[in-house]
Amino acid sequence: MVAEVSVLDRTARAPARWAAHFGLPEPGTDSFADIYHHYFPRVCAYLRQRVRDSDLALDLTAIVFEKAYVKRADLRCADAAASWLFTIARNELASHWRKEIPRTEALERSARDGSFTSPGEDPEESLLRKERAAVIMGLVRKLPQREYEVISLKFDAEFSNQEIASELQTSEVNVRVTMFRALRRLRGFLENGDS
């Protein structure tokens, strides 16, 4: 255990060396640090879209990667990393909603909280980008739950249709049709001037 603390101390400064110590399949290429680096933005964006609160999304992302670290032995190959991580993320979301921070409170917080802010970015450009993103993200939230979930896994997590089907325990055909109907519904919202 003394060695474990020492390893963690070292890896905090040099995360890329984790794999050699923690037994992931191919050290150096599939390490936990590499997985973290690769998936952090997508996991965080996915959670941000779901909870609509940047601080909460960051907290949940930290919890997801902590759980992923604890369960790292369950990951048998790097190809399954996305599905493995987003399963943890979805479970964490479900757990969060069960404990709930009441939903109304989360929504109130989100109303005050536009989005993540990027230090050093031109404020005008940042505002325009956020407005465009906010319109489409706002409309997506009006979709029925199943369509919302498929769209989020497709575009936030960038899952393949097969991965979505596996995650939602349905068929690929059903995923494709659900996505088609969701985009049609979004087009309807846009045509009606919903926001």
Binding site: L8, P15, F40, R48, P119, F155, F180, R187
Partner: protein
């Protein structure tokens, strides 16, 4: 009824193919006005997701350090047990 469902599946498959191509960095074309409109909405949603992911990336190091701190604390707690 069956024909309508099959038509929908066929169009959904064509759209899904185009979306996969788009997400892989391509510039897919579809030979259908409605599918082109839906693909345009898919582009907007992809851009919004990537914008959010880009903004989230700023916090990568911060969350990593938080995670490391937490894991170190737990490792120390285990040692004390």
């Amino acid at each position: 009824m069956e024909t309508l469902r099959m038509q929908e599946q066929k169009r959904a498959t064509e759209l899904a193919r185009a979306i996969d191509e788009m997400l892989a960095g391509g510039d897919p074309k579809v030979d259908d006005t409605e599918l082109e409109e839906l693909l345009q909405i898919a582009r907007m949603r992809r851009d919004a997701a990537r914008e959010a992911a880009g903004q989230a990336a700023v916090y990568e190091r911060q969350v990593w350090e938080l995670l490391m701190k937490k894991l170190r604390t737990e490792a120390r707690r285990d040692l004390e047990r």
